[in-house]
Amino acid sequence: MKSKIREVLSKHGRLPVDIATLSDSDDLHAAGLTSFASVELMMALEEAFDIEYPNQMMNRRHFSSVTAIENALMKIRQDMAA
């Protein structure tokens, strides 16, 4: 899952640095992820993982790192399955 997230990040995150230089826990906002890019990223993640972000998950924290994105995606999948 993480490698797919990284792939989406490199295509849609508009990061000024190579995603490969960041660890899973590195702060993406500090690395230059803007709020504009996070919306594009969100759409790309919805497409790639066939999920839909509920409004309450659309916040900064859920896009703060690769791990945070993964946790959010797993939570969304769980909620969708429930």
């Binding site: 000024p16 640095v17 906002h29 500090a30 690395a31 230059g32 992820l33 803007t34 709020s35 504009f36 919306v39 969100m42 759409m43 919805e46 972000y53 409004n55 309450q56 659309m58 916040n59 900064r60 924290r61």
Partner: protein
Amino acid sequence: MSKRSTVGRLAETDALTLFPEGMAKGNSKAARHAERVLLQTVRSEICKVAAAHAAHVDEDARFPVEAFAALKKAGLLGIMVPSELGGMEAPIRVIAEICSLLAQNCSSTGMCYAMHQIKASSLVMHAMDDEWHRGFMRRMVAEQLLLGSATTEGGGVGGDLRTSNCGIDAQGSVFALRKEGCLISYGIQADAILITARRTPESPPSDQVMAVMTRDQYTLELTQVWNTLGMRGTCSNNFTFEGAAPVEQVIPASFADIAAQSMLAYAHILWAATWYGIAANAVYRAETFVHAEARRRPGTVPPGAMRLAELLNSLQQFRALILASIDRYERAKGDPDELSSISFVVALNGTKVSASEAACDIIQHAFLICGIHGYRNDSPHSLGRHLRDAMSSRIMINNDRILGNVSNLLSVYKHNPSLAA
């Protein structure tokens, strides 16, 4: 130019009040009493001073020094600071009411007070765990410090406050900072400036922090004078800012969090309250015009009365918008996820756009009622300054920029149709 204002009808101020008594039900009796005394001081003393100098502030494009001397004397600059640091811990609705009352008498005073309190909110909401900033907040109360803001920048950044070119250049325990082309309202008069910059000169433009720098720690080189259509007393000149300060003066929270979790709400709500004040005074002038007409021709309803009925509806909607936004903020406060959520951003940006449009529309409508007496600069029903001042509202953070940012979010956002949500 007219000196008539809310001061002239103290007994009726409830009609122009954002918050009728009783709205502060959750507060203790003592806190409610303190709020009442505070607002009475604003109405009976400070508004008089603001009204007496409003025309000169506008004509000379000068800072409302008299009103701010009165605000400082009454201790009103530090009221947001928590009680543990010597402040009054005034909630946003009280601050909003003061902005509105001041703006009913002098728009520039209301706006400067709003901008000062928006800066205070950054400290109160994000720096309570930090020793240096706690000491600074104590000073804010004791010395009644006026806070300015340097969030804009030249070099293509402009008003995009979430981007910085300059960076905090830390050398050991001290940092240096030079920011070019930044618009700083009442920059000369401010006792301290809260300034944004990249975390380090090498950080990406969106990785920002905010630092508090006191006037002895920086110099301001004037690059462009504020000579505008309205809001002339905010003295929002352009400067090159250059200074140095201990690194502990950088607020620990990232500016992204400050912007999302407190600045967005405080700025849009307090600006809206200020514009409400300008609009409310325009309505007051239209109302007194209709009253005078009615007395002149007993037995006939003045032609402006029907428009006044419409105008009061618009003002009521405007007030409801602000109250709903304050309620929304109060419910979200303390929940960083909710404060940084898309739905909150969409709602508060909507408040700004709607409030700025309401203010301009209401004043134009009041013009139709007052006719030539509103158009004149020397009549008690004069509305020229109101309109000029209120016209800043649509472009102070341009509505098009805000709608553009919101529309970017709408590709994923799903609005909640619930009336109760």
